[in-house]
Symmetry: C6
Subunit: 305 residues, 6 copies
Amino acid sequence: MTQDDLFHPVIELPEPTRRARYDRLVGLEETKLRLRKEAALLANPRRLQQWAATHHGGDIAALTLFADRAPLFVFAGDVGSGKSALAESFGCDLADFLDLPVYLYRLKLATRGSGMVGEMTSLIGGAFAHIHTVGARATGPRGVRSVQILVVDEADALVQSREAQQMHHEDRAGVDAFLAGIDSLAGAQVPVIVVLCTNRVGALDPALMRRAAAAFTFARPDDQQRHAVLVQALDGLGIGTDTIGKIVALTGPTADRPGYTFSDLTQRLVPTAVLNAFPDRPVNDEDLLALAESLRPTPVFTEES
Amino acid sequence: MTQDDLFHPVIELPEPTRRARYDRLVGLEETKLRLRKEAALLANPRRLQQWAATHHGGDIAALTLFADRAPLFVFAGDVGSGKSALAESFGCDLADFLDLPVYLYRLKLATRGSGMVGEMTSLIGGAFAHIHTVGARATGPRGVRSVQILVVDEADALVQSREAQQMHHEDRAGVDAFLAGIDSLAGAQVPVIVVLCTNRVGALDPALMRRAAAAFTFARPDDQQRHAVLVQALDGLGIGTDTIGKIVALTGPTADRPGYTFSDLTQRLVPTAVLNAFPDRPVNDEDLLALAESLRPTPVFTEES
Amino acid sequence: MTQDDLFHPVIELPEPTRRARYDRLVGLEETKLRLRKEAALLANPRRLQQWAATHHGGDIAALTLFADRAPLFVFAGDVGSGKSALAESFGCDLADFLDLPVYLYRLKLATRGSGMVGEMTSLIGGAFAHIHTVGARATGPRGVRSVQILVVDEADALVQSREAQQMHHEDRAGVDAFLAGIDSLAGAQVPVIVVLCTNRVGALDPALMRRAAAAFTFARPDDQQRHAVLVQALDGLGIGTDTIGKIVALTGPTADRPGYTFSDLTQRLVPTAVLNAFPDRPVNDEDLLALAESLRPTPVFTEES
Amino acid sequence: MTQDDLFHPVIELPEPTRRARYDRLVGLEETKLRLRKEAALLANPRRLQQWAATHHGGDIAALTLFADRAPLFVFAGDVGSGKSALAESFGCDLADFLDLPVYLYRLKLATRGSGMVGEMTSLIGGAFAHIHTVGARATGPRGVRSVQILVVDEADALVQSREAQQMHHEDRAGVDAFLAGIDSLAGAQVPVIVVLCTNRVGALDPALMRRAAAAFTFARPDDQQRHAVLVQALDGLGIGTDTIGKIVALTGPTADRPGYTFSDLTQRLVPTAVLNAFPDRPVNDEDLLALAESLRPTPVFTEES
Amino acid sequence: MTQDDLFHPVIELPEPTRRARYDRLVGLEETKLRLRKEAALLANPRRLQQWAATHHGGDIAALTLFADRAPLFVFAGDVGSGKSALAESFGCDLADFLDLPVYLYRLKLATRGSGMVGEMTSLIGGAFAHIHTVGARATGPRGVRSVQILVVDEADALVQSREAQQMHHEDRAGVDAFLAGIDSLAGAQVPVIVVLCTNRVGALDPALMRRAAAAFTFARPDDQQRHAVLVQALDGLGIGTDTIGKIVALTGPTADRPGYTFSDLTQRLVPTAVLNAFPDRPVNDEDLLALAESLRPTPVFTEES
Amino acid sequence: MTQDDLFHPVIELPEPTRRARYDRLVGLEETKLRLRKEAALLANPRRLQQWAATHHGGDIAALTLFADRAPLFVFAGDVGSGKSALAESFGCDLADFLDLPVYLYRLKLATRGSGMVGEMTSLIGGAFAHIHTVGARATGPRGVRSVQILVVDEADALVQSREAQQMHHEDRAGVDAFLAGIDSLAGAQVPVIVVLCTNRVGALDPALMRRAAAAFTFARPDDQQRHAVLVQALDGLGIGTDTIGKIVALTGPTADRPGYTFSDLTQRLVPTAVLNAFPDRPVNDEDLLALAESLRPTPVFTEES
């Protein structure tokens, strides 16, 4: 098994497209800050001791707990809530903050194996072994030379709860392999961060949730976030401030349908308005309002199992 | 995997049979126009900037959003509503409009693989990689030399929602591979349009619906459409205008059965009337009225899962 | 894949046993006539133009619709209703009517393949490709040299509706392959007629039903049909006319059981009466009446899924 | 595929053990007579014409129906009702009656194949092809040289109704193969009789039931049959007539349990009485009565699916 | 397939550990006696004739029934009721009684095969063929030289009732193979005894139950049995008679939990008392009473399917 | 199959990280003591005789029961209750107590095999055979040279109760193989201890539970345990005693959510408080109280099947 069998092409961050996505994700400051601190400590664990010395006058017992934690974060939420976009772009921020290259590893779907029961187990094991090795190589006597981010998108496909009645034993074994991989990183002191993205947080195995350093819940954008996105996306079209306010209202949740997702705004509403006007006339306020009334937001991913 | 493993024989458009079908699809003008515009922009993205300059006085932020959109359209509707016919024929119109050849790729059923779990994943990946390469080759310094249309008929067989309880993990992985394929085209600036046709729009995965640039719903022909179809199909038989109006009424939906499909009219009602008369006498108005009363329209595809 | 892999031994019609069966199928005249006309047009499409010229004074638009139709007929009905018998014998009539040999192809069960997911798809594809080639070869400059009939008995095993919740994806792909095969014959102008026989018409896929040129429903024989069958089968035994009338009544449906099938009459009632009498005495009226009261007709095929 | 792959070792009848079993099966005279007549006609079809000439003064139409019948008999009933014992022993009677050797073929379980979907289909096909060939070889210019009996025990495992919702397509294909095999024997004029034994007659496919020349239902022995069995089995033990009558009563069905099966009497009640007495004392009437009160008959096979 | 593929290492009995277990199984005298008689007759069938001559004055019809019986015994009951212990140890008693070596064959789990449908069938067939051959070899002109016992523990895993709705066809075929194996031993006059142990007697196939020479039901030890076990196990610890009586009461069934199993007493209660005392003090009466109150007996195996 | 195929890398204990974990597990004294005694007897069975001689004046019958017991312990409880941590660390204590090396074997997930039915069975058999051999080698004339601990984490994946309706036969065979492995160790006098950890004690097979020398139930930490953990973890941060008391209260179970797990306290609460403060200010009491109010404990593993 080579790196290409296990991961999509590795991307070195920062990279302009992803940095732009990171910047567009408004309203997720708390999560962004936490990820930055975690990465800072993985890159240089001594910072924590320095902080303890400065603010608590010496070593503290809590520091030993950090050696046992898994660098695992769960991003959970509906489709279009920005969780995958953040998972694949926050490395741009880390790279700037730490002044180090950050490598983005995205687990390949093929990791599910070719159907032999034990194979999924060994492929997941291989993926963790690989990232572990890369992390160890990036750690030298003069400190850390890079940070690795492993993103597992649609994680529930891999780590669905073993509670589920209809789950096959082989899938349960896949969960177990994932748990083992996470455990192998806990306390290994390698600059690796694992992010699981899932639509179905309730479907993740409790034993996995227990290992998460933190779980962040992502929602569809609220009024403020939609406003910020729209102002940015409509820039240059000469749309009035009042109109934007009305679109914010029209695209929010109502009694019988959810609100717009980030992508409903940026990939459907605004482009469709442009295409309706193209090529003969400009986009105008009425276009947008009519469209915001008629377009149906992406349905919510309903967790049934 | 060669092109022949992945697709049915590629068809260069325009082509007379399909153009005739395109022309027979009355009442779908909005969809036809949208597809033409999308293709025009894929063929020449600068048209959008020219439009922005002309109508909005310069660059607009919205243009950057187009680079992130997937060229994906969902055609959903009942059997016989014309969605597959449009998907396979609108390229004729594009070819005329753009004065470029248009190549029609139809995903083969074999793309589901031979049953090994990881294989469906890699075959779908291969199909997208192929179309991506073809699209890239068709793009040169002097602009686009052709447009590619990838039609996935009976798409729900491939991209059924991962919400479904009884779905196998391997099918979920197929959906994931499809999502990855669509994502690889998003912003790739290659002249490729993907059209998914499905009887069961509710069965498509929300994560896929989120990526669609637009989803069009197709219905059985309404009165006006049935009238247009009948006038065209009965031409030369000397059927009275009143009779045609009565047939339009008889073939519409009633309380206990749906209306006729396009194909119920053109492949069953009219040919059967002809065969009943053949070889001894002409078709007359009574024949058609009697048949319209007795023939049962194709049952509706009821979405149960 | 050779012809032997795909079909049971091909039978050239007319053939005496099947012609006798055809003659015994009383009460199915409408279906017999329609099949004869369809075959006549496939054998010589110019007949339709001649008819149009004669009866409508020239070309009519409806003629172009014939080029798009699939030569597909659905025979649906309960066990013992004669549908399979007709499907395998109507070629005898065609052969006489057209004065051409008619070849009967019966799809082998092995067409379901050996279990690999993609295999059923390719085998069904192979069967249609073969029949298509044979049909093309039978078409020459001097007209059609033979007619091919492809019978798919127990068709629901192959083309069950994709609506069914518990259907496997691989079976759905088989349906799709069948649809593709039918589509390849539509408008191909080859002398091929496809007949699907099924006990479970409700189980057939709507997309398949939509393509059928006609669907005929077969029922257990009614009073008149049972009378005709009995008169023919009891000939020579000296059974009284009154007795036959009583047997017709006794073998009809009642509140708590269905009526006799064709085969209940010809393969169970009469032979059992003969065997009861054999070898010591003649069959008499009482034998038959007693047997008709005690024999239970074949149970109805109840469509549960 | 050789004969050994398809069948258990072929047994030439008559054979003393099976003849004894046949003789012990009291109360099944009607079935025994019917089987004898069917075999007589298969061995020499001209007998029927002779009978017609003698008793009806010449050929009768009904004779032609015999050419279309399948030599298929269904033996249905609870465990221990003697159906398998009869199926494997009635050939002894035929052999005597016809003065011909009778060969008993018992379909091997391996006929279900090794799990590949198409394999069960081809194995069943092979078994029928083999028996067909053997039957043809046994038919010469001077008449039939032997009769073949094919017994399919636990037939429901092979030919369960395709109505069943949870049935796999591959099992449905097995049923279809069986139907095709039966059809290939119908009218083939070869001396072959097929007997299906099943606990679950309701589970057999209607299309199979339709083809059966006759279906016999077997029940647990009634009072008279149990009496006959007991008299025979207790012979020599000096058990009183009254006692036997009491045992007959005790072993019949009651409100809360079924009656004894043939084998409950001969393989459990009597041998246990003997073993209880052995080696120190004779069996006495009290032993048997006490045992008949305490032994629980074999539970009924309840058909749930 | 060698003997090692089919069976655990064969054990020659008598053997001290198993003899001790046999002796510890108090309260199972009836079963022990019956097994001894059965084996005696298998080892020397003439003993039965001698008995008949002595006690009934000559041959009796019942003797012929023994030739048709299967040497099959079903041991059914809850976990810990001693059924497996008896099955694997009663050969010690037979060996003494008959003054012959007894060989204990335990069917390997691998007999379920490697998943190919037909394989389980052929492995079970192989196991029976092997034991049959061994039994035949052990039979010589001077009588039987050894007795073979085939134990199938957890038999329900192999011979679950074919009534079960969710049972796979391949498992049904396994049951059929087992039935065929048993039938091959019936009347074969080889010194082989087959014992099936199962927790789930209700799950065994009726066709199998019908073939059993006897079915014994095992229960958790009653008061008397628990008393005998405790007296034996506590010997030397100086526990008072009153205390033992109290423990007997405490370990019996109550309204809300079952009684102790044999192994709850000998493998949990007494050893835990010893370990609690060890290494600093002797076991005393209070220890045992407290423990008997707090320990929870093994839960009952609840038969759900 | 080598050791590496069956087990994770074997760890020699004592080892500092695991010893620290062992020490942190407060409130599990009873379990710790029992494990120490069991190991002591396995390492030197004569100690028990010495004890019997000292405290009971000679040999006692109970000693013979020890030879029949399986060295099997079940650790059952919710996620985060410390059961796996204890299973992997108690060997440190044994090593000190016995002054012998202790080797920790952790069964690999791959033991489930690659999907062939019989393979899981043979892999589990191989694992037990290996540990048995290692144990035998560690036993010499001068006594035991080491103790082996085999930990099966997430044991329910391997040994789920055969009661479960939807369990596949192949998984039932896996349970059977495990039972056989345990039985092979019973009375084998080798220094091997097997520990099964499971979230789902109710899912374990009764036949397995019956063999357990003891089953320990682990719960989330109670007030006292949480207090002890917090005092240890917060050492050096200058958090007030009152505050710790309040946190103990806040992290206990309430009506609508469970209490914190060990890992919720040490891997989430305290590290998050540190990260919130880092790098600009010290952790203070308010931080911890606020966090203890807002963090949601790991959900309980709900046993549904």
